[in-house]
Symmetry: C2
Subunit: 297 residues, 2 copies
């Protein structure tokens, strides 16, 4: 009988345990990727839920305590909490430990975390591009990542072995891993994720402000397109607040382009210009074909 293979990590510390964190915990459990899963959350209620779900071997509300002896620390909180967590946990980080995260903006991760890390600790920021509109540890499931892309944005000079260990973790979760500079990531995601969410939040808000009798009908007749926006606009408010505040420049740039294009279509509608409208609508089908070709549907 051969020796059972050692798991890739001895102790993984998850700080924050919402949709993404708890889905990752389920993958780690399912595939035996760590001997010990330690979970840190701000509230005891959340930690009780995590224990009831069997997702943690130990729990704490203290970021410093949770990272003790961990060879992987994964931040899964909203981006706005990163700097304070990094400062609090830094003194307890073990040499050789990898610090990674799942945040939707990447330049700010390097800005907020790197200055606090002691020598010999590896920073490998990551972004699994997957999600649902649901939040909290109960919402997670191990298959969330299957067939999606995970983007890693290691800073210049990052340890290749640390990068590979994080890449292997996400590949084990079913993801295709891509590596790119953080700045490029933030621009791509501004158009594919951040702007769509901002737009969806806006239009659902516009509908909320309508006269009450119209508002009731908005829900009823939402099958004409609106309900897709309500799903997007039901995503976690604090998480999204932090995304917009931390990817301001790229979001404002894409929003500027969007506004120009919307104004042009608005003008075509006002002046009854049939051809430019139709041409625009034909052109957008091409992008849909690319999404299908990339198998992201």
């Amino acid at each position: 009988m051969g020796q059972p293979e050692a798991p890739p990590f001895a102790k993984i510390a998850l700080i924050g345990i919402g949709l993404i964190g708890s889905s990752l915990a389920r993958v780690i459990r399912r595939d035996g990727l760590a001997r010990h899963i330690a979970v840190c959350a701000r509230s005891h209620g959340t930690l009780d839920t995590v224990c009831a779900l069997g997702l943690a071997d130990s729990t704490t509300t203290d970021p410093r305590q949770v990272v003790e002896g961990a060879d992987l620390v994964m931040l899964c909180t909203p981006l706005g909490a990163y700097a304070a967590i990094a400062e609090a946990m830094a003194p307890a980080l073990s040499p050789g430990c990898i610090v990674s995260d799942v945040g939707s903006v990447k330049q700010c991760v390097i800005r907020d975390i790197a200055p606090h890390l002691p020598e010999g600790v590896h920073l490998v920021p990551g972004h699994p591009v997957a999600g649902t509109e649901h939040s909290g540890p109960e919402a997670g499931f191990a298959e969330l990542f299957q067939g999606r892309f995970c983007i890693l944005t290691p800073p210049t000079g990052a340890d290749p072995n640390a990068i590979e260990r994080i890449a292997a973790l996400w590949r084990q979760a079913g993801m295709t891993v891509e590596i790119m500079p953080a700045q490029h990531h933030d621009r791509v995601l501004a158009i594919t994720s951040h702007l769509p969410h901002l737009i969806a939040y806006t239009i659902v808000g516009t509908a909320t402000d309508l006269e009450e009798h119209l508002r009731l009908e908005v829900a009823k007749f939402s099958a004409g397109g609106f309900r897709d926006f309500t799903r997007i606009a039901a995503s976690d408010p604090v998480m999204w607040r932090d995304i917009f505040l931390n990817n301001r420049d790229a979001v404002l740039e894409m929003l500027g382009r969007f506004n120009e294009d919307l104004t042009a279509l608005q003008r075509a509608i006002r002046w009854g210009e049939a051809e430019p409208l139709q041409e625009h609508f034909i052109r957008t089908r091409e992008i849909r074909r690319r999404v299908l070709a990339a198998r992201q549907e």
Copy 2:
């Protein structure tokens, strides 16, 4: 043995046979709602497809011919074709015939069709609020309407019996029927359907115009929200062109409100105002709850 019940209609003429028309044809076939289904389309290729699918008892490219002897004529073409079809078919309409439609704007239906109809023909405009991003007769399926709302907008003084016969048809297809003035319909749908489509078309267009290297990545990383927009923006271009041109005032009004709200959020992002952003995002969850409560998900 009792006499088998007579079907509710002797001959139904479907003019236009895309997603909605062919789905309705499938319902009529499945439930035996007409003795004869006559289909009119502009191209012989479409009519061949319809025959191959077994959706028609007779086919023609002539709107005048298709309505001969029909007790129900259902227009399922883009809105821009209505006036010419009404003019062409009018002389062949039988007394007592009901003319209805499935268009997404309703004031223009009354404007474009009513003037052509002879005395004794009943106009009952309708809008089954259901759809997918796919087009053409192959894309239809009988269950498309199940659990959705159908809005009828009969003009003042319309025949109650004609209204009830159209309502019964859509109820048979699985829909809940609501009756409202055409003007009110056009305002409600401007926010629940037309504006969301315009926004989706815009943002997908904005992404299409990005530098080529970004464009390829847009498809790849679309799981972050963008892919929902690409689905909406893959809808039939001619149909949507006609919707915007024919519901101009309501669409421009809702677009004005949307622009004000987007500008306010844009300003909050630029100035780093965390609280207004978060409050807005919390508020939009309420509408999502209403959509779920209305069982339109």
